[in-house]
């Protein structure tokens, strides 16, 4: 539903977005990840036609966003929750959006309640809102036109834990009903819980993309022998079973096999074990830091 091909956005010599290609199919939540300044927001602005791209194409529902006749009815966009007139009330912001889309005041009120803004809160001016309330208002605004696609830049920023849980459920439900979601975040744990696919960007380039389980896939089994003298015997047993072990550091071996298989092989080889466990699956944070280490401002030390 979102199709981005070789998208580039250069500012002079700076390649803010550099040859980015990805798609967001229906029913999927795609997490757009990257350190600050990696180009996430710029790419999303190009996608929505607010920034002219230097090269490449970006389409939503088969058309350039700017060519959608009434984009608010097809694509829900929240690029910056703080980009609202501080002097308007939440109710007024939603009423303006509803008027523009022609969806009626009842829909505006319905969305206001859906995102958990009370009537009393909605009557206050946006200038007095916390970031979390602005995010809720922004989500309500994005949902006004009952869109098929959501494009959200850092939507969970500033939400309280309850709000984060709510957002996760909302996006999941939206995708399960056939919608497509592209959301960016640097809150890795959030993306990890809601996204189906990941898109990791660093210095404007995509450094990794794919299904979440592929990127975060398990790393086999860690095993440690009770007597260091037995170690070569276990290594040989594992190798002859087709799973040559690697050095896991700290006296441990790491094997691409499940713990039960490794335990059985150790028993057959008559080797006593001190430890046998699943090697810790890579958390998104590990993967993220590893993938973006070359491009992040903290460098390898991070």
């Amino acid at each position: 539903m979102i199709d981005v091909q070789h998208l580039s956005k250069h500012y002079g010599a700076v390649r803010a977005v550099d040859d980015v290609t990805f798609t967001v199919p229906p029913g999927r939540v795609v997490g757009f990840l990257g350190p600050n300044g990696a180009g996430k927001s710029t790419a999303m602005r190009c996608l929505v036609g607010l920034s002219p791209a230097t090269g490449g194409t970006a389409t939503v529902l088969g058309r350039r966003y700017a060519d959608l006749p009434n984009p608010g009815l097809q694509v829900g966009v929240l690029l910056d929750a703080s980009a609202q007139h501080a002097g308007r009330t939440g109710t007024e912001v939603l009423a303006l959006g509803a008027a523009m889309l022609g969806v009626g005041a009842a829909r505006a009120r319905q969305m206001q309640r859906l995102v958990g803004l009370t009537d009393a809160e909605a009557k206050r001016r946006v200038g007095a809102y916390s970031l979390g309330m602005r995010q809720r208002l922004g989500i309500a605004h994005a949902l006004l036109g009952d869109p098929k696609v959501l494009i959200l830049d850092e939507p969970v920023n500033g939400l309280d834990p309850g709000g984060i849980r709510w957002m996760r459920d909302l996006l999941r439900q939206f995708a399960d009903q056939g919608g497509a979601v592209l959301l960016s975040s640097h809150l890795l744990s959030e993306i990890e819980q809601v996204a189906d696919d990941l898109l990791v960007i660093g210095n404007g380039r995509i450094v990794a993309q794919g299904a979440k389980h592929e990127l975060l896939g398990g790393r086999g089994t860690a095993v440690r022998v009770a007597d260091p003298a037995d170690r070569p015997r276990l290594e040989q047993a594992l190798a002859s079973a087709g799973s040559p072990p690697r050095d896991g550091g700290d006296g441990a071996l790491v094997v691409d096999a499940d713990p039960a298989t490794v335990g059985r092989l150790a028993l057959q080889a008559g080797v006593a074990l001190a430890e046998l466990r699943s090697a810790q699956a890579g958390t998104l944070e590990d993967v993220f830091l590893q993938l973006t280490a070359d491009t992040s401002r903290e460098g390898r030390a991070a």
């Binding site: 060519d67 006749p69 097809q74 910056d80 703080s82 980009a83 303006l96 022609g102």
Partner: protein, 263 residues
């Protein structure tokens, strides 16, 4: 870009038939609403109306010797309109950037030219509405003045005079829109809007600067429109000033806005 005013091309079929573009009337309605739904916008209009009423009250109290004609009263009562209303035009253009609502506005209607045309028409509509209110207040003031001070009351207005007055309000509003559009910053646009006539008018009285500045003196515009039989030279100067302070920034501002990156 689809033509201004016409709905966009038919889109893919939605649940209620094909999705059509945002009708221009709806865009216009939203832009009018955006001018009056914020504190700053609303208070600006209230202050303009209040000043007009104040002037009318002053005419009632101290204006016994003033001729009780509609056109004299209306000319006086609309002084604050001419002075302050352009700020409404400036703010409608600049608020999108200073409050960053352009992000939302141009997401919902990517055909930015339509938004700009809607904004300009909306500002002119608000100007017209304010003038109607002030005209009504003037009529009430004139009736009371006639009753209090006695004497004849002249209701008839010269068409030429009235058209000239309305023309200046249209020009002032357009100039405010143009300044807001090209400068994109409320404070800068408002300061320059008031400062430029204040600087150009006295300078153009200076012999050496006059040959050049008389062509860009904004006061020539209102002179041409309001002074009876202003003469060809005033009209030439007025037209040049109109082109320089209204048309040029409107065109430049439109080009800039269509290309501008919205952040």
């Amino acid at each position: 870009m689809s033509s201004v005013g016409a709905p966009g091309p038919d889109g893919p079929a939605g649940p209620d038939g094909p999705i059509r573009g945002v009708p221009f009337g709806r865009l216009l309605g939203v832009e009018v609403r955006k001018m009056v739904d914020t504190r700053s916008g609303r208070w600006l209009l209230i202050v303009i109306a209040a000043l007009a009423v104040l002037i009318l009250a002053a005419l009632l109290i101290w204006g016994e010797s003033q001729p009780r004609t509609f056109s004299a009263y209306f000319t006086m009562a609309t002084i604050p309109v001419g002075m302050l209303l352009p700020v409404v035009g400036i703010l409608t253009m600049t608020a999108e950037w200073s409050q960053r609502t352009a992000l939302v506005t141009f997401s919902l209607e990517p055909r930015r030219l339509r938004v700009l045309v809607a904004k300009s028409l909306a500002a002119l509509l608000v100007t017209a509405a304010v003038l109607v209110v002030v005209a009504a207040a003037t009529a009430v003031g004139l009736v009371i003045a006639g009753a209090v001070h006695g004497g004849p009351v002249t209701w008839s207005v010269s068409g030429r005079e009235f058209a000239g007055l309305l023309g200046t309000f249209v020009v002032f509003t357009l100039m405010g829109l143009a300044f807001g559009l090209v400068l994109g910053n409320s404070a800068v646009a408002i300061v320059l809007y008031y400062l430029i006539p204040m600087i150009v008018a006295p300078l153009s009285a200076w012999d050496k600067a006059r040959p050049v500045l008389q062509w860009v003196d904004p006061s020539a515009i209102s002179q041409a429109l309001t002074v009876p039989d202003a003469g060809a030279e005033v009209w030439q100067h007025g037209s040049a000033a109109f082109a320089f302070w209204v048309i040029l920034p409107l065109v430049a501002g439109t080009v800039l806005t269509l290309r501008r990156e919205v952040k």
